[in-house]
Symmetry: C2
Subunit: 227 residues, 2 copies
DNA sequence: AAGCGACTTCGCCAAAAGACGTACACAACT
DNA sequence: AGTTGTGTACGTCTTTTGGCGAAGTCGCTT
């Protein structure tokens, strides 16, 4: 859902005629101007003005509300169109969750938000900036995920935090990082009991700071989704 | 390149604080406000005003120019950051080209633009609308492309044209469509010599109109990229 | 402490955006 | 021929955007 939302918004924004592109999407979702206007609490003629490219550069707010309304209407209808778009998406999502932040955040602030303690490479913390995170169950990633999915762990940016859940010693997660071509900026271990010395060795060699938290998983997601 | 452009624009547009997200991207590309302002021929303070969220809903034009300038600067520098984003992208692109139109286009208009003749299901032409196309070499797709790539042929929308190049009888392309779960709205055969009867049979069963053109490939791309 | 580069804050102004309502075009259908 | 649903065109209004420049902050380097 968030993927198609972003794609719609991006395409409208980049179009030479944003209004025509808005129209295109409304038609794809088979929604009338009246329906859309009702939900947005504006008049249908306003919609038509946009679609006729009377406003050459509609504001991000308008585009955001427009895209949101289209997706909401489709959802209310039982997602007849949305379901078409989400066919190929399920595969990667069963292994991990990707999230990009709207603004950058420093590793230090990130650590504070998660109420985490530093396990390795504390001196590297202050120079790191984060632009998103990837949350995954360490065992599932190692045992079940096909190799072809690995590059997807990085989303758009490698300047991100890898959050591993259900960790016992932290060894396996660090090995995963060791054998992957790209490297995250920060590693978060969740549920850690005892730190494996090899995990720290790897962290030092790869120059990646590692922090540990035991905050409730739902709480973690809630906090991070605000960024 | 177009993918990351769209992603940036979409993210900025959807953000609750578009300015902060603009800032995030400028920082990711390690560009100063002054550089950006120079290229955009506006004053640096204007950039700062945006980034400080003084404009709550920047217009699509601003966002488009902003994203464009960032990508241009990075390109001029030899794409130090862009190259990071384009790592995993090459795989699918060697098999086919995807393109989404900014506005919808009718199958009839599409046919005229390509100077094409109808091979099958002429009566279905008038009801079809297209939102993009996928261009591929028929032999390469059949012989070399891994199965996992097939869903990607449809881009965001299945309401699109499949353009097969280097076609002799049109049989194999139609077989590909027969065995794929999703179906395109229109098939274009390029370089067709003699139509295989089975190809037409498949088209009729799948209710997909088929047209044929011999227009120069470069010309085709040029024409379609204007939509 | 002086200077420099990068960035922020703010008052101000012209030009658009954002919205409305009315009028109008054009297919369906009764 | 009349009505109903969908979409366009446009005059008009207020609020924002989009832009500038001057003044100021905040680290660095020298």
């Amino acid at each position: 859902m968030e993927k198609i939302r972003n794609e719609m918004a991006g395409e409208i924004t980049l179009s030479a005629t944003p209004g025509s592109t808005m129209k295109k999407w409304r038609e794809i979702f088979a929604i009338t101007q009246v329906e859309l206007a009702d939900l947005l609490k504006i008049s249908p003629s306003t919609i038509s003005d946009y679609e006729g490219n009377r406003r050459k550069s509609p504001g991000s707010g308008v585009i955001k509300r427009f895209v949101g309304a289209i997706l909401e209407i489709d959802t209310q209808r039982g997602s007849p169109i949305l379901s078409k778009f989400q066919q190929g998406e399920g595969k990667s999502e069963q292994y991990f969750e990707l999230h990009e932040f709207a603004t950058s955040i420093s590793a230090i602030d990130f650590q504070k938000m998660l109420n985490a303690s530093v396990v390795a490479n504390e001196e590297l913390m202050k120079s790191k900036k984060l632009y998103g995170y990837t949350l995954m169950e360490s065992l599932k990633i190692i045992l079940e995920m096909p190799y072809s999915q690995f590059p997807k762990l990085y989303g758009t940016m490698s300047e991100r935090a890898f959050i591993f859940t259900q960790v016992s010693t932290g060894r396996s997660p660090m090995v995963v990082i060791r054998v992957t071509p790209m490297k995250p900026s920060l590693v978060v271990l969740h549920g850690l009991k005892e730190v494996d010395p090899l995990a720290i060795k790897i962290a030092e060699r790869e120059k990646i700071p590692v922090i540990s938290t035991n905050m409730d998983l739902a709480k973690i997601k809630e906090v991070l989704n605000k960024i």
